[in-house]
Symmetry: C2
Subunit: 597 residues, 2 copies
């Protein structure tokens, strides 16, 4: 094993303190006890655990995978202690308020710390992330009793949690959820139904598993407006005892990656005695879920970024030490060059860097906006942040998932034949990455969220907010001495996006299907510009760093400027190609007869 840093420390520091100036958050009351020092302590302890403990556990846990024996899932024997390690670091409730034993840390800092953890072992991190998500739902919408009984134990790491949404017949179509909840006179509901793809839906280390289940109360309205949210524990606490709650682990899916966290099919109430406890009010389940959606989707994006980043670091370390072939300017008698000296290997490495660091920057920016939106003072700035994070979330989820996958593919390619073997990590990371374009809303669903809900649904207001950011960033970039062409190119792309959006808005008014049918291309286009914006922000900070920073950082800052140059030269021009294509609105895939496929 090489000494893969998982995430490049100096890059993270640069993003947090030079690009984002995250310390400003400490002026907000919620974060007032914090400082750069407390941020660094938290990130540092997570980093240490990730590097010294988690990293070496990844490969054996991937190889062993989880199994399904005697109706239960068997997780790798190390899993429990590793999850406990993360709980001890405070990772399950770091951002939550003091009254629920949290640390009131910014999501930005949480994301930074989590990046190391995820890059080291995403399955172990997955158990924690799911527990956080489920507990947070109870915290936000549950009764005091539910909080006392479930949330506290989940935040304390005693019990794990899951999100149980998907059903076999419905998939992404949540409107067709059939799991039933029948009210009883004792106040609880009886739950009956089947769920699939429940990550962490069973394990062999935690005392209890708390499922947050979407179900339909008898007589509820059709569609998404009749869905309620329930706490359904595997074991039901009664006094000091934990009683079986008729939740059956029906099977485990064999899957491509994430092999140390099981994906489970669950049957609730096969014997008619599965109790569920309503969270909040009836029929509002999906709304509750959606209020946690930004967090969950940024979580997936962050996981995707980390999975691409650790592979990039593997490829980089390999390229720097693997001699093979010669440069054109070498003679046959010269020893072979390290492959980092070959142009196409450099191209693949810079592309990975541009994708991975761009994604990290976007995710930290989004989390920073979320912190401002949730904890900033009432007023325009906070509303602006809220609008922006809503807009950016589908991009911050999808760009790392889709382009991150491309980056993972390039990492395999850099290692050549060895990349195809499990002697090295990239093939496993490639397998892990593929899930991220599917779970927590597929790329298609994210693109409809972006174009339909976030852009057209706000009458374009969210795009205006983004334009303001682009403009401001371009101005600051020019002042810092960044090549003027970059800011101008971003503003030109921005105008094209505005035009395309107006065209699609008009089209959608006439015919929603036609207006939205290029939504994935639209997301790709906007994401490409958003990443150019991120690289402009980084280039600005790098240009300033070159003037005022330490001499030892010179090559570091030059690296950032080169990656920015790459993005502006190679990727941003795609905005034009995509804009043309969307504007023309080619409909071949709509008009081809089914029999013509």
């Amino acid at each position: 094993m090489n000494d893969n840093p998982l995430i490049h420390d100096r890059t993270l520091e640069f993003l947090l303190y030079e690009v984002l100036d995250v310390e400003r958050l400490c002026r907000m009351p919620y974060f007032q006890d914090h400082s750069r020092q407390t941020f660094e302590m938290f990130v540092g302890s997570c980093r240490k655990f990730a590097r010294e403990v988690l990293r070496s556990s990844y490969k054996p846990m991937d190889e062993a995978a989880t199994s399904y024996e005697g109706g239960r899932v068997v997780t790798h024997p190390q899993t429990g202690e590793l999850v406990q390690g993360l709980v001890d670091l405070g990772l399950v409730n770091a951002t939550r308020p003091y009254e629920v034993e949290g640390q009131q840390l910014p999501s930005t800092i949480m994301l930074a710390a989590n990046a190391y953890v995820t890059a080291a072992n995403l399955s172990v991190q997955g158990f924690c992330m799911l527990t956080t998500g489920a507990a947070h739902l109870i915290e936000a919408f549950g009764s005091d009793e539910l909080k006392e009984t479930y949330m506290r134990r989940m935040y304390a790491g005693e019990w794990t949690g899951t999100m149980a949404l998907t059903e076999p017949q419905a998939g992404s179509g949540l409107a067709d959820i059939q799991t039933r909840a029948t009210p009883t006179e004792e106040g609880h509901y009886l739950i009956q139904g089947s769920k699939v793809f429940i990550s962490g839906g069973d394990n062999s280390f935690s005392e209890n598993i708390v499922h947050l289940v979407l179900a339909r109360i008898d007589g509820a309205p059709l569609g998404t407006k009749g869905i309620s949210l329930f706490v359904v524990p595997r074991l039901r606490p009664e006094g000091e005892e934990l009683l079986d709650n008729d939740v059956d682990t029906a099977g485990a899916f064999h899957k491509l990656g994430w092999r140390a966290i099981p994906s489970i099919a669950l049957n609730f109430g096969e014997e008619g005695r599965c109790r569920g406890y309503l969270v909040g009010e009836p029929h509002r389940g999906l709304r509750y879920m959606f209020q946690m959606m930004n967090e969950a989707r940024l979580g997936v994006g962050a996981s995707a970024m980390a999975t691409a980043m650790v592979a990039y670091e593997e490829a980089l370390a390999y390229a720097k030490t693997r001699p093979q072939g010669r440069r054109f300017d070498q003679r046959a008698t010269d020893p072979p060059a390290n492959i980092i000296e070959h142009p196409d290997v450099r191209r693949m490495l810079l592309r990975q860097k541009a994708i991975c660091e761009g994604a990290l920057s976007l995710l930290l920016t989004s989390a920073h906006l979320l912190d401002r939106a949730e904890h900033g003072p009432e007023g325009e700035d906070t509303l602006h942040a809220a609008t922006l994070v809503e807009l950016l979330t589908p991009i911050a989820k999808t760009f790392p998932a889709e382009k991150g996958f491309e980056s993972n593919v390039l990492a395999v390619q850099v290692l050549g034949g060895y990349g195809y073997t499990s002697e090295y990590l990239p093939e496993a990371l490639l397998r892990d990455q593929k899930l991220n374009s599917i779970h927590e809303g597929t790329t298609g669903i994210q693109s409809l969220d972006l174009l339909g809900r976030k852009v057209l649904g706000t009458g374009g207001a969210s795009l205006v907010a983004l334009s303001q950011e682009f403009e401001q960033s371009s101005k600051l970039a020019a002042e810092a001495g960044v090549p003027a062409g970059w800011g101008n190119a971003l503003m030109a792309a921005n105008r094209r996006i505005a035009d395309v959006t107006a065209t699609l808005g008009a089209r959608a008014l006439e015919d929603p299907t036609r207006g939205l049918q290029h939504s994935v291309d639209y997301l790709d286009m906007v994401a490409t510009a958003v990443l150019a914006w991120q690289w402009l922000l980084m280039a600005t900070a790098a240009a300033e760093g070159l003037q005022t920073g330490a001499a030892t950082d010179k090559l570091f800052y030059e690296g950032k400027l080169k990656a920015a140059q790459y993005w502006f030269a190679t990727e941003l021009p795609r905005v034009t190609t995509l804009a043309d294509m969307i504007t023309i609105g080619d409909d071949a895939f709509m008009t081809i007869p089914d029999e013509g496929f």
Copy 2:
């Protein structure tokens, strides 16, 4: 298991007889005994075996994988009889002449038949393809004794063959091969060295394994000009006996896909008694290899195409039968629509179709050119075919490998969560596909072959030959009533490519590194245009079919025209983006300091 057709019969028939008019080959003496009837018999029998026998073996063989026990590889118990089945079909030497028991079939027909076989079980096909490649080398360059002893038994399927090029320290850098061959007085050589990534390098079903090994005769010149080719059998025939030849199976690589054919590390001559037999003349080994390269690389391209195609068919079958969600024009009370009705699913399916069928068309076109180049009458037409197939080979290898992988990714995505599980085939096919951008020359190497050797190395003559084809095809397309914009767009792309090539030629004269550093982008650009040409050919035949063909084929032909429309609207414009980028010649990846990564 659904009834996946592996390859769509009507599409293959269309390509062979309506687009390519492959029967014309029968006018050449080598193919004179053949007719559409004999072609169809051969393809039909391979198809039947692929569908009825091979297809169901794929999944269990992927799941069991090969293992390494007691110094030998254990292949799946079915492997031997399945390989024998392919041998019985004549698949190992179908294109070879009668005097070596071949059938003198065109490579075009062989590729068509092989497509079904590969789509059904690429590992089993792999054993045969490797045996063919190795035997063909002996046939072309070996002595009569080598042919008698080895080639005949390999073509007869008694012994399998491998290609042993790669060494652990050298990878793709064949100039650094260190395996030694020491002459003896008895005429044979003593071989000593290590090879890695030898596909089919060991198995537990064939009586003997014949390795075609690149090695350096003691005192040979440095670099690629000192490499010779040897036959090195695992067991050495002596009289009626087979004696151990000191070839040791040192280990097996665990790998992402192709799990039923092992990738092996071999040690030759650890005890100093490994005998090798020189093929042809000393120091010409790499030249011999390269004369087989077109065949081998088209083989990889064909495998990549088949791997993408079978996944496309899986996704298509799933999309047609999986109800989920509703169209915008449906009401909540309507039953869910099959997902093929959702725009983005249609987009993903049409993109897969355009890639897969485009790749199939390109591969058949290339094989057809190879047949003409090898067996046509002396003259300009034959030279033209030879020039074209040289040019197209790196594209016909790389496009299916790279875009085929994207197509495999889309197949997983269409199946959503199920696509990530091994309940369905796409995840396994995705794993298989990734090898194709790596083996038999990585994408980077193919791109240098295209730009450096095939284009600039011919002074642009090969591009002129391609331009003639584009022009001719555009003219015929216009006559057939294909939208005039398509032919015009192809010719415009062609002019851009010529301009870019001239620019790069001038640049390479000054500085080879600068001239070639965008070679992968160049390959992408040319491939995009070449695929547009293929879709223009198919559109032409489809337009003619709509006028003169059977009414029952109407939707089939419309499907081809829609896929062509998709390619011209969505992909061909990328030529401009790439041409701009290459012309500007951004050098960020060359000028970034190593420490800046």
